[in-house]
Symmetry: C2
Subunit: 328 residues, 2 copies
């Protein structure tokens, strides 16, 4: 089969469309003929050599695939050959065939295309896990979502407005994306380059602060994030793109009863991922089936041109998912 | 009535036994004739001028009282005059009479003395809230409790061994208290002055780390605490005796899915405190009634000698509660 492999870690030019061995499904696994996969920010970091796959997962890039069941390993009964499925995978998405644990797969509703399905697993499950399962978001709360134009952030805004319409959603974004972020459902947008977001949050919330922050920036935002949190608020930390180490004021955190929760999806134990996907399938998949939520797609590339897809992601001008296709 | 008042903030010599006005129970409040109250570390910090009571609470020191119901305000029906009660109060414990919200009171079981009852509210509720309600401790987990000789720590060790016997309890203490901490039920003790606790935790847990840390030290311990936490472990931060600001490694925290939860009891909204006390009364009070847990009492002083009680607490040589009494 064909897949994208890396000559070595580095820039997009290291990515090559190669012939590799077809994977064989093991215990509890199914082999998926990939129709579409998608590009996520962690793929870029993995390509650069800074985000190895969990032990046992494919070294090939790609965290989510949509396609049809090609064959099944031992102890698999949930799907049949030919079923349309979408899967969260620890790696291996940039290929014509990919292995997935059956418990990490979901059926694709009839009304959802493969392209749309390929947008669901990484970003929507990450947003759902962090805001709704771990963050316990519901009702009249307020949430701050950083980088509102990004994949997880867009998914987070859509999920908030659909699953918890009373929630006040504030998003930061760069000036050229503010309007589009607002059109996704954000009640307030903050231009993070031109405005001090902690000051804006203070004003928007009448000094109260927000209940939950979804942050992928890390160190650079730690202090203004903690300032922006309400009493008993939670900072969900899902990335460190703005640095690793920062000073924390523990007295304020204690008196205000605030929380910081570190969270990743990819390296969680497989049974935990299965439980998360199970909850997601019953709570969120029906929203795709009924088109209450529609994934935003920015661009499509044939799998062989995955390097161009990475160049687009690294330029950062996209809004919505970048899709790879095996059907060209 | 008599009460301990402060000439001004400062050392124990500022405490005086004075005549003050008797408080009058308001809506939802009861007036308790205090038989015993007890001394807690926050009382010392409040005496020094660094821990003001929540708005509306008495300026008089003292966070817990045991006694009998003297009279009742409007909208109170849970207790009757003469009932033996113990109460968590925002202030006012160092007095002959104290006000409490009826929802912050519990009946004292027949087999429990007023002295014992006066030991229950502040330390055991704090330990229960942070380990069992917020920390979700149960089953085969491991816990690190700092300052094992302190009031909250002793309560925490006892609660772990009684409510969750499978839990592995590790406590730090100074060398002269190690044996007594072990006798309270700690499976392992670490001499925090002579040993590097993070190294010891690594060895005791075979590199896994502990699931929960109960910490009142703060900044000085942040780095070794985070090193000592297992995957998905939680640092419960309930004090900052060792400093306020410290550097946090956000990348490690994210990848290891760790949590920091800031927590205080005193300034929580009164309805939250009522809910915590309600849960405590059904889950933990029966353990006192059946003597499965017995509060440790180190020393007793007449209320008028509260300054001596503070001197003892500040010297730090005590092990167990320091009780104040109105019956001498």
């Amino acid at each position: 089969m064909k897949a994208i492999t890396l000559r070595e870690f580095g820039g997009p030019e290291m990515m090559q469309y190669s012939e590799v061995e077809m994977p064989v499904p093991g215990d509890g696994q199914i082999l998926i003929k990939v129709i579409n996969s998608s590009v996520n920010r962690p793929d870029v970091i993995q390509r650069q050599g800074n985000y190895p796959p969990p032990p046992g997962d494919s070294e090939i890039l790609g965290l989510e695939v949509a396609g049809v069941v090609e064959s099944m390993g031992a102890n698999t009964s949930r799907f049949q050959t030919g079923d349309r499925v979408v899967a969260l995978v620890g790696g291996g998405g940039y290929a014509q065939y990919a292995l997935a644990l059956q418990d990490h797969c979901m059926s694709i509703p009839q009304s959802v295309s493969f392209e749309q399905a390929a947008c669901i697993c990484e970003t929507y499950i990450t947003a759902y896990l962090n805001l709704f399962i771990l963050g316990e978001l519901q009702g009249k709360k307020s949430v701050l979502i950083h980088g509102g134009g990004g994949g997880v952030a867009t998914a987070a805004i859509q999920l908030c407005k659909t699953l918890s319409p009373e929630t006040e959603v504030i998003a930061t974004a760069s000036s050229n994306k503010l309007d589009r972020v607002r059109s996704q459902g954000a009640d307030h947008v903050i231009d993070y380059r031109e405005q001090n977001f902690a000051d804006e949050i203070r004003q928007i919330t009448a000094k109260r602060g927000v209940d939950i922050i979804l942050d992928h920036i890390g160190a650079k935002y730690l202090e203004p994030n903690m300032k922006s949190l309400a009493l008993a608020g939670t900072l969900m930390l899902i990335g460190v793109m703005g640095g690793i180490k920062a000073e924390l004021n523990l007295a304020t955190m204690m008196v205000k009863r605030q929380r910081i929760i570190g969270s990743v999806l990819r390296s969680r134990p497989i049974h935990e991922k299965a439980a998360i996907i199970d909850q997601f399938e019953s709570s969120v998949m029906p929203l795709f089936a009924s088109a209450k939520i529609e994934p935003l797609i920015d661009a499509r590339f044939p799998l062989k041109d995955a390097a161009q897809a990475h160049e687009l992601m690294e330029r950062g001008g996209h809004f919505g998912k970048i899709i790879l296709s095996n059907q060209d």
